[in-house]
Amino acid sequence: MKKEAMLQSDQGSSPNLSVNLGGINLINPVVAASGTFGYGSEYRDFINPAELGAVAVKGTTLEPRAGNAPPRIYETASGMLNSIGLENPGIDGFLKNYLPYLNSQGVTVLANIAGNTIEEYAEMAARIQAHGGIAGIELNISCPNVKKGGLQFGTDPDMVYQVVAAVKAQTSLPVIPKLSPNVTDIVMIARAAQAAGADALSMINTLMGMAVDINSRKPVLGNIFGGLSGPAIKPVALRMIYQVHQEIDLPILGGGGVINAEDALEFIMVGATAVSIGTGIFVNPNLARDVVQGISRYLQANGLDNLEQIRGAALQK
């Protein structure tokens, strides 16, 4: 396995893995994906959250939410479905009870906010701005807009523009819309986000999916539909990031199915500035460390000293 070979050999001084994600300096390009690393403390016995370039915390709403009725997760071929339903303590509860631990550990924190209305997004951004302790705001626009009859914000360029603009108006922090892959034209969505002043883009969120229990003849999830994540979706994530990087000049927090360093390198080669890991953490709680080391070894084995030298390499003719 040539790949592995490359990752094993280890020579030279360790390369510089720091990156700048739309104004946020990360010590390395590996970011815990929202909803998969809780609030940073859950995995403390396995990994120090400060080892990660950044931690995107669980999606937060204006008011606390109990989340969806179980069952909430289901394993699929090289992937999993989840319908957590944004269970969270609400923005104030998060800032008051969960953020302090992350700050005490010196973790670079990305808030991940989800609203039912544009006003809710703006209000949460304002509270984050006023509170401090957050490096950037990831906008989860994959949730239904109650005013517009449940149509997802993230699937309509106009709504994406409005949400991003409204949030930018409330904060000086870097704003990173997280794009939904469940769209016809991801570039159009990304362009709307850019026009509204997005500092970077996060992609991809989960693909909407479902599964059926053939014995009960019912959907396996209490919520019927759930988000598909894990290695199964990696080819779709790579393709969308490639398309966006080709057309739009914004740094990308790219991920979807990363379970090892080779996967992360693929994302960097299609243009990702930083790489998010989610489901992969469930499989390997040390994944962040393993990916950082693996990327470092790859650069060394190839006589490279920073990530710029390979970023977007797959797009060069």
Partner: protein
């Protein structure tokens, strides 16, 4: 503190048609274990089956620094687990979750296990005996061959009452039938149970009726196993809107804190 280790398999033997017992050496892990906790096991290739599988601690050998599991082959993951052989390594994370709360003084304790749900109760029984409790263990299975814990429980020195659906050993019928026939509720200070959802619901009802306090070990599908993904949610009795996380707040819960609606 839980850890991630490559346990060295020393044994992985078939006990009945679909029940296996595996022992692996993982000193750090073994040193941390408490009855009722579980380990999160990764089998197969990197991407399939993708998620870890939660398995209770059947027992721990602190002398050898090993952990012992009792598992039933029900699907892909457990089938792959059953193929591991001595000298293989198994990727394990744990111990995880909140185990049983043990009484501080000598007590009369009733353990009720159904099927492979006996697993966590064996480790618990040993710890209870070390605290000089009087321990009665009721184990219900389909048939005699599934009563695989009898010998261990014998060694531990508990009062063992088997029940089988087909009557091939012990009382014929459900564990609850046996409880009503053979156990004096008055004798029981504390009850612990683990098994199929419906059995646990029935045992919980038995405990409620006789006002016996106790705990139950629950099962939900899990991803992270550490409280990070919020996937293993289960409705809490106390408050309908609230969902407990079985991996972190459990898997062991006080009987009064559990709602059995899901199971009906």
């Amino acid at each position: 503190m839980p850890s991630l280790e490559n346990g060295l398999v020393v044994r992985n033997v078939q006990l009945s048609r679909d029940l296996y017992e595996m022992e692996f050496i993982a000193p750090n892990m073994a040193g941390e274990c408490q009855p009722g906790q579980f380990v999160h096991v990764k089998v197969g290739s990197e991407d399939s089956p993708l998620l870890r599988r939660p398995l209770s601690l059947y027992d721990v050998d602190h002398h050898l620094g090993s952990v012992i599991l009792l598992y039933k082959v029900v699907g892909k993951g457990t089938a792959l687990l059953s193929q591991l052989q001595a000298k293989n390594y198994v990727d394990v994370m744990g111990p995880l979750g909140r185990g049983f709360t043990l009484p501080n003084e000598k007590r009369n304790v009733l353990l009720v296990g159904g099927g492979v749900g006996i697993a966590p109760l064996v480790y618990l029984a040993r710890e209870l005996k070390e605290r000089e409790c009087n321990v009665k263990v009721v184990h219900g299975t389909q048939t005699r061959a599934d009563l695989v814990a009898g010998e261990r429980l014998g060694k531990i020195g508990v009062d063992f009452l088997p029940a089988t659906m087909d009557g091939s050993a012990g009382c014929k019928g459900l564990v609850t039938d046996l409880l009503n026939k053979k156990v004096d509720p008055g004798w029981v200070d504390i009850l612990y149970t683990c098994g199929p959802e419906l059995m646990m619901a029935a045992v919980a009802e038995y405990a409620r009726r006789h006002q016996i306090r106790g705990q139950v070990s629950l099962e939900e599908k899990m991803a992270c196993g550490v409280g990070a993904c919020l996937g293993c949610a289960r409705q809490a009795k106390s408050n309908d809107a609230h969902y407990v996380k079985v991996c972190k707040e459990g898997p062991v819960f006080d009987l009064n804190d559990v709602s059995w609606e899901q199971s009906n």
